[in-house]
Assembly symmetry: C2
DNA sequence: TTGGAGTGTCAACAAAGCTGACTTAACCTG
DNA sequence: CAGGTTAAGTCAGCTTTGTTGACACTCCAA
């Protein structure tokens, strides 16, 4: 399994190093979601609502099915979240013109206001972390995260990146 | 996408870059938990059990209170999980010798077997990601994650690292 | 034009968080 | 040693967010 590269590739993959990586991931993810969670709990929303709002903002007009695949939940689970967001006037669902089975999702102005509030908080933390760690670290950070994704998630990740730019 | 290097530290923190960081974190965390989740769902356990088992394995003899703080859940929530693990003979709870109010937690042999199974799966993915990204990337990865933690979580992260080494 | 496949919705249920109130036992301090 | 504090565990009840099953509407191709 462990191929001896030069000599260096060995030490750096000890179980201890890997465990530290696992724990870093666990603790960092807690920080990553902490700020939006604080905002959300003052309203009747949770993390699931945040995720839906984020990806609708990122790909306006996306279909329910597409969102399903990105979020990796069942459609019933997403539907509940989506229904409250639509009822509360944060998300608009338009019947597809080409295919009337599809619903295309958009944020309303109110929805965009909340999205900005949530993503401002999350970006602020990400910005602070990036700044503290420096540009080279950020490159490495992204490389490792990308290598950690399942391949279909990696595809989606790139698809969104291209659309978003 | 192609950033102008000359302006360095400024351009590199565009909202688009930050959003990509956020999404990378989201997709990668999914991959990070996918393998253990698959194993756990064949038994009657969930992610909460995995977390408890991981940190008991990492700090044998830890107290309930300590675990509570590390996991960031309520006593009632942890207790439910811990109770099933003790009943099933994966975790042992010993009354403290110095302070008899405390319970010290240990994995039984059976518990260690499951722990190894879960952590093997997770480490395999982490190892693959580290190997694919390279040593410098791993350094950056850890720097950014550490900067993203809340300060008290960062303290705990270091405390465990020292104990585990 | 009809039957199968795709998209979305509703209902009911389960896992795992949460709060609040309480008990028991042990420790510690005045 | 009495009284307050701390560690752990428990009971009840709620919320969020996941699940499966059944169903309706739409499209498309045989």
């Amino acid at each position: 399994m462990a191929e001896v590269k030069g000599g260096e590739a060995l030490l750096f993959l000890t179980d201890e190093q890997l465990r530290q990586g696992i724990e870093a991931m666990f603790f960092a993810y807690r920080g990553f979601t902490a700020d939006p969670d604080r905002i959300l709990e003052t309203m009747a929303y949770g993390r699931a609502h945040h995720r839906a709002i984020h990806f609708i903002a990122r790909s306006p007009g996306t279909t329910v099915n597409n969102l399903l695949a990105i979020l990796g939940v069942t459609k019933q689970s997403l539907n509940r979240v989506l229904r409250t967001l639509i009822e509360d006037g944060l998300v608009e669902s338009r019947v597809g013109t080409r295919d009337k089975r599809e619903r295309h999702l958009y944020l309303t102005e109110e929805g965009e206001t909340l999205e900005r509030k949530l993503s401002d908080a999350q970006r602020a933390r990400m910005r602070a972390a990036f700044r503290a760690a420096g540009p080279d670290a950020v490159t490495g950070f992204r490389q490792v995260l990308e290598a950690m994704m399942d391949s279909d998630m990696r595809r989606r990740y790139h698809a969104i990146r291209e659309a978003g730019t």
